[in-house]
């Protein structure tokens, strides 16, 4: 395992071969192929067994996400969108197939290394915010830093900076229960950024918010993507997301239905072609 990790920087020099092999599956990414692949899945499958009934959530998905891009995952509910999200975030174990995060096979990592990966490299934003209820906004933001080994005073400083970034500096003492949904989601974004992640994974970040607040959240995400070059993967129903993403990905019945750059998709009011 350790060998793979150490050999990994050299591997980064050859993403082209990976990208070209990917090229066959995803028809539309010529413009992106010069960028390194940061997430790659190979025939990813997942089924759930409950009470003896097998539900196929993913039936083999091959996708490559490039560093620094903003990609939206679209699809009706029950399409396997969230499952896919969990797989690429190393939050769940695939039934078969592989997930590579920066060319490291997630299945090969130990529990400790997984914790490190989740802590330092990926930021998660959930539909239900998932803040720790008994912690204040600042504590919620600094907890991942504590897990990451940052000293408390440094963590506090950075936490306040992040809260300022999402416009909640004056509410740092508030607990989640004392904040609105939009504010909670903004705290969640600040939290997801606490250890400077390379990847930001968002699972329907705007689904529980009204139009205006949702727009604010999306603006923050776009700003992060543009200025900090954070890779954003966003599973969503929200059509506004399409307006700001680089690529769109449709999942239906556990399969990759379509993958397209934004320019290729024509957006009409109320419907998509």
């Amino acid at each position: 395992m350790r060998d793979t990790v150490q050999a990994e920087p050299q591997d980064r020099g050859t993403p082209d071969s990976v990208a070209s092999s990917d090229h066959r599956q995803s028809t539309v990414n010529p413009a992106s192929s010069d960028r390194p692949v940061i997430i790659r899945t190979v025939s990813l499958k997942k089924h759930y067994v409950r009470n003896g009934v097998v539900t196929e959530a993913l039936r083999g998905v091959d996708v490559a996400v490039f560093g620094g891009e903003f990609i939206s995952i679209m699809g009706p509910s029950g399409s396997g969108k969230s499952t896919f999200f969990n797989m690429i975030g190393a939050l769940d174990r695939p039934s078969s197939g592989r997930v590579f995060i920066d060319e490291v096979d997630v299945a090969q990592l130990t529990a400790e290394e997984l914790a490190y990966l989740r802590c330092h490299r990926i930021g998660y934003i959930f539909q239900t915010y998932n803040l720790i209820q008994y912690m204040t906004a600042l504590e919620n933001v600094t907890t991942p830093m504590a897990f990451g080994g940052l000293m408390p005073d440094q963590a506090r400083e950075r936490g306040m900076h992040l809260l300022e970034l999402v416009g909640l500096k004056d509410r740092w003492t508030h607990r989640p229960i004392e904040m609105s949904g939009g504010q909670q989601q903004r705290v969640a974004i600040a939290r997801s950024l606490s250890n400077r992640p390379t990847i930001l994974l968002c699972d329907e970040p705007t689904a529980n918010l009204d139009l205006h607040t949702g727009q604010e959240i999306l603006d923050i995400l776009q700003r992060l993507n543009r200025s900090e070059r954070v890779t954003v993967v966003c599973a969503t129903h929200d059509h506004r997301t399409m307006d700001m993403c680089d690529r769109l990905m449709w999942i239906r019945d556990g399969r990759l239905e379509r993958l397209a750059r934004r320019e290729e998709v024509r957006v009409k009011v109320g419907s998509i072609e």
């Binding site: 620094g68 490190y116 989740r118 802590c119 907890t143 990451g148 080994g149």
Partner: protein, 489 residues
């Protein structure tokens, strides 16, 4: 864009973990207090049983020694009236050390040499054990094994020709009965028994002679009246007759005997009509309803006792030598004896049993079980309802170990608080109940050190159960992938 490098996750200091745990408990204070309450109730139950049994045991011991002292005169009256059966003699010998005064007395009375005495004692020890075994059997089994024999007749049956064989055959056919000794030992005893029995009969005959000699000295006195002089001439008579009756015992016996005589004299006044009326008037009773309890209640106050003595003298009773102080002292003692006897009745099982006693041990076991299940359930609930939080913490990069530590710390903390509250409540309940049951007698017998040890034990049990009960669900939760944990609802 920076490259992803994967290493081991940093470790969190204990202080940070403690703070996270404390915050968690503070936020869910209500839930935590319910868990604490469950632990407290369980530990209180445990502690209550423990403290009650400890106190009962101490009180039983105290009551037994005090009663033995109070009954000293009665005991000697009994010993001087009859030599007792062979069975009681066997048990008496089996229960005394070889060099004890009682053993020496037996040897003297039977005129046994050292070898004979040792032989008798060995037989007595085995015989007493066998008799205990037969006493513990139910009627049907006993009938099957030894027919209708009682007491030493059982041993005679065994010693008769073919007795042991018949017994072992019957034993083989009787289910769920194990004899206390292997067959060879039983056979050896059966061979020995006739000789030992003859020795015991000799002792018994000697004792009978001694009793006759003592009674010859009494002339027209009762035994009790004679014993009232036990610290004087009568004591010498007893010693000359061969009884083990050292001067300290003699003094105590004489004192008890004199008291008993006074009690008898005073209670005899109940036969006297004017005295009955005196007491009946006080309590607004019919003279026929006055009983000993009323009499002693009446005599508890010195002026009443003085009036009683005056009335007694006027009615022609034997009031000479009775003073009001003496009567009130006797009245007080009457009350104390009442309490002692009550304590003896209440603790009859404790006195008979070794250790904590079967019933108490069973109760303790059950309460431990209840305690364990209650705490496990509470901890399981706490952990299960926090699966989502655990999953979130894992998403944020918490190591599995940290999650375990958080939960085990939390449950230990709840265990400490619940255990302390429970132990205090249980001990308080147990002690106050015993206080009501035993009254003044309890106060001097309370085993404080044992109670404290018991309380410490109960607290430790509470903490250990809470921690152990939390480990499994926390371990399971920590090991799950975050999304798997979130799916468990």
């Amino acid at each position: 864009m920076k490259p992803i490098r994967i290493a081991d996750q940093a470790r969190l200091g204990l202080r940070r973990v403690c703070r996270i745990t404390a915050d968690g408990i503070r936020y869910r204070l209500f839930r935590a207090s319910v868990t604490v309450a469950v632990i407290a109730v369980a530990v209180a139950f445990l502690m209550n049983i423990l403290s009650e049994s400890l106190i009962k045991r101490a009180v039983a011991r105290a009551a037994r020694t005090q009663l033995a002292r109070a009954r000293l005169a009665h005991e000697w009256v009994f010993r001087l009236s009859s030599p007792g059966t062979l069975e009681t003699m066997l048990r008496e010998l089996a229960g005394t050390a070889p060099g004890a005064p009682l053993a020496a007395e037996a040897r003297r009375m039977g005129a046994l040499d050292a070898r004979e005495m040792a032989r008798l004692r060995d037989a007595a020890v085995s015989g007493a054990r066998y008799l205990d075994f037969f006493a513990g059997l139910d009627h049907a089994r006993r009938r099957r094994l030894v027919r209708t024999a009682e007491g030493t007749a059982i041993l005679d049956r065994l010693a008769a020709p073919g007795g042991v064989d018949a017994f072992t055959a019957a034993l083989r056919g009787t289910r769920s009965v194990r004899f206390v000794d292997p067959p060879e030992r039983l056979a050896a005893f059966a061979a020995e028994w006739p000789a030992a029995r003859a020795l015991a009969e000799r002792v018994r005959a000697g004792r009978e002679r001694a009793i006759a000699a003592v009674n010859a000295h009494l002339e027209d006195q009762t035994l009790l009246q004679g014993l009232a002089d036990a610290d004087g001439r009568f004591g010498d008579v007893l010693r000359n007759a061969g009884f083990a009756f050292p001067p300290p015992t003699a003094a105590a016996t004489a004192e008890r005997a004199r008291r008993l005589l006074d009690v008898q004299r005073t209670e005899a006044a109940l036969d006297c009509r004017p005295l009955r009326q005196l007491i009946a008037r006080r309590y607004d009773l019919l003279p026929g309803d006055v009983n000993a309890a009323r009499l002693w209640e009446f005599l508890a106050a010195a002026p009443d006792a003085a009036a009683f003595i005056a009335a007694m003298a006027a009615a022609g009773g034997q009031a000479d030598g009775l003073t009001p102080q003496r009567l009130t002292a006797l009245a007080r003692e009457w009350q104390v004896n009442l309490q002692l006897e009550r304590a003896e009745r209440l603790t009859v099982q404790m006195a008979a049993a070794r250790g904590l006693g079967e019933r108490m041990a069973w109760l303790l076991l059950v309460s431990l079980l209840v305690c364990g299940i209650g705490i496990s359930n509470a901890m399981l609930m706490t952990v299960t309802e926090r699966f989502r939080e655990i999953a979130t913490l894992k998403c944020l990069g918490a190591r599995d170990g940290i999650i375990m530590v958080i939960f085990v710390l939390e449950s230990c903390f709840l265990g400490v608080v619940g255990g302390l509250i429970g132990a205090a409540t249980g001990a308080l309940l147990g002690t106050s109940r015993m206080l009501v049951a035993f009254g003044a007698l309890f106060a001097e017998a309370v085993p404080l050190a044992q109670l404290l040890t018991g309380a410490a034990l109960a607290v430790v049990v509470g903490i250990a159960l809470a921690a152990v009960a939390a480990v499994y669900p926390a371990f399971r939760a920590a090991r799950l992938a975050p999304m798997e944990a979130m799916r468990v609802e």
